[in-house]
């Protein structure tokens, strides 16, 4: 406990030493200075007249957006179905690739620490670093606009997510069970099937459902870059300034996301 003696010899308790106090103070100063500097940069790029206009613009937007065009919903069911398919099939694709990658990446199951593990870790990092919209942007150029690009974009982005969480789960398993199965004379594949897989199964199911829930949200916007789903209608409605349609789409997205979140929470609750 740092203590300071003041003039008349009495000792006063302090929370920090003087040096620690100064360090903390300079830390805060640097943080505030950085924020101000960054904000100044943004401010220089901003046309403030548009910003002061924002309340009027917002009111105008709301005015044009309500009431939602309810009849437009009939044209949206198909797009919503596509969106859900993009999310689901993308998740299935990611599971198919992500699970082997996770087993290659986990310390206790990888066939080779020198060769296979770094490759698997690189796949995981590369997949996670790139946002699914950027994946979609690239895939649309390659495969043309449509659902295929969307499914692949969701799949590519999810491989890293599933791979990372699953390989961490594999590394945390109880080694004694694996040892018990090995002690019965089981081969590598048998150890995997009876010693490891049953232990990570609940984690795997939870991770997959969780990612599916995230993918539903992401699939709703992939259409903005042409990768299929309800985002295409959203983009078209925004481009034609059909704000009542935009409201309708947003309401539908809200409903779907709430349902998928509820479903995923229920499933995860049942498993874990």
């Amino acid at each position: 406990m740092p203590v300071i003696a003041n003039g008349d010899g009495a000792k006063v308790w302090m929370r920090r030493t003087t040096a620690a106090d100064l360090t903390a103070w300079f830390g805060w100063l640097a943080g505030v200075a950085l924020t101000v500097l960054c904000f100044q940069f943004i401010s220089d790029q901003t046309i403030w007249a548009f910003v002061w206009d924002a309340p009027r613009q917002a009111a105008d937007l709301l005015d044009r957006a309500f009431p939602p065009r309810w009849s437009y919903a009939n044209q949206l069911w198909r797009a919503m179905w596509d969106t859900i398919n993009i999310a689901t099939l993308g998740t299935v694709l990611a599971i198919a690739i992500g699970v082997p990658v996770a087993f290659l990446a986990a310390h206790n199951t990888t066939p080779s620490v020198v060769l296979a593990r770094p490759v698997a870790l690189f796949i995981i990092v590369a997949s996670r670093s790139v946002n699914s919209l950027i994946w979609a942007l690239i895939l649309v150029i390659i495969f043309g606009p449509g659902m295929l690009a969307g499914i692949l974009a969701i799949g590519l982005r999810s491989i890293g997510f599933i791979g990372k969480l699953l390989y961490e789960a594999i590394e945390e398993i109880d080694a004694s069970q694996v040892e018990a199965v090995t002690a019965t004379g089981a081969g590598r594949a048998q150890v995997l099937a009876w010693g490891i897989v049953p232990q990570v199964m609940p984690a795997f199911a939870g991770i997959s459902v969780f990612r599916w829930d995230i993918n539903i949200r992401e699939a709703t916007v992939l259409g903005l870059v042409g990768a299929g789903g309800i985002g295409m209608q959203l983009q078209a409605s925004i481009n034609t300034l059909a704000w009542p349609q935009v409201t309708m789409i947003l309401i539908l997205i809200l409903g779907t996301v709430i349902v998928s979140e509820w479903l995923s929470a229920r499933v995860r609750h049942a498993i874990i």
Binding site: G31, L34, T35, L37, C38, F39, F41, I42, S43, Q45, T46, I47, F50, V51, A54, Q57, A58, L61, W81, D82, N85, T88, L89, V125, A126, R128, S129, V130, N131, L133, I134, L137, I138, I141, I142, F143, G144, G146, M147, L148, W194, P198, M201, P202, A205, R217, E218, T220, V221, L224, V225, L234, I238, L250, I253, L254, V257, I258, I271
Partner: protein
């Protein structure tokens, strides 16, 4: 092994115990797979062409070209980074009152419902959708991006922090309250010390997320490196695109490593 012994052989218990539910799930999954694949609209000839195009496309990515459009890349990066810093700071500061309001053990019912509603709206919509609306309101540029990220940060931090506040050790808060502390003193001495490590960890994590998101907001005109990436793809300057992607991956990795380090240090 004879048939009777085979029937008595041990089998691992299935993941879903109730037989009817298990078969319903399997049947449902099969039905869904048939329906989904049946309605999948894919132009396979176009996709087959795509594979060949993809080869050429990837070829055009190499070598990455950092030089030709460096000024644009630099500006996009600066926008993304400044957006990340300011939105994290503002979002985190604003998320504190929202989190307090969304904690059932601190806030009265009307405030609780209001704050939970705010969090729900902020979490439901993707950043990019919010960015579209903010661009329409505030005009093009990084300010719209900053506000978008700050808004999402409020939802994210608000929810997780509120859950943490609801889970605190009650006896400590009670002890502080028993000394006659006011509501603010209760916050400062009973609750803040318990949630601070997680608060710092979450802020670091959110910084990381905000950078990733700032890389795509440019697609709808909200500034940042995504704008530069999009225009380089539009102009078929794939070398520049490759350079931008590499820079994004590098920064994301640095952010992730740093935020992981901070989280381990405080928790």
């Amino acid at each position: 092994m004879d048939a009777a012994a085979a029937a008595r052989a041990w089998r691992p218990p299935p993941l879903i115990e109730a037989a009817w539910l298990r078969w319903a799930v399997y049947g449902g999954a099969l039905l869904y797979a048939v329906l989904a694949l049946g309605t999948l609209e894919v132009n396979w000839t176009r996709a087959a062409e795509g594979l060949e195009r993809g080869g050429r496309f990837l070829g055009a990515f190499f070598p990455p070209d950092f030089v030709t459009h460096w000024l644009e890349i630099e500006e996009g990066l600066l926008e993304s980074l400044t957006m990340t810093v300011t939105s994290t700071v503002f979002g985190v500061i604003l998320s504190v009152p929202v989190a307090l309001g969304a904690s059932r053990n601190l806030a009265p019912m009307p405030i609780y419902l209001f704050c939970r509603g705010l969090i729900a709206v902020s979490r439901t919509f993707q950043e990019i959708i919010i960015a579209i609306l903010f661009v329409a309101m505030f005009g093009f540029g990084p300010l719209a991006g900053m506000l978008t990220l700050a808004f999402s940060t409020i939802g994210f931090m608000g929810k997780l922090l509120a859950e943490d506040i609801e889970d605190i050790e009650k006896s400590q808060a009670e002890a502080v309250r028993a000394t006659g502390a006011s509501w603010f003193q209760l916050l400062a001495w009973g609750i803040q010390p318990q949630v601070l490590p997680r608060f710092i960890g979450l802020s670091a994590y959110r910084f990381d997320i905000n950078f990733r998101e700032s890389a795509v907001l440019g697609l709808v005109g909200a500034g940042g490196i995504g704008d530069t990436l999009n225009s380089s793809l539009d102009r078929y300057e794939f070398g520049t695109s490759a350079a931008i992607l590499l820079i994004i991956i590098a920064i994301v990795m640095v952010c992730e490593y740093t935020s992981g380090f901070i989280r381990r240090a405080v928790q």
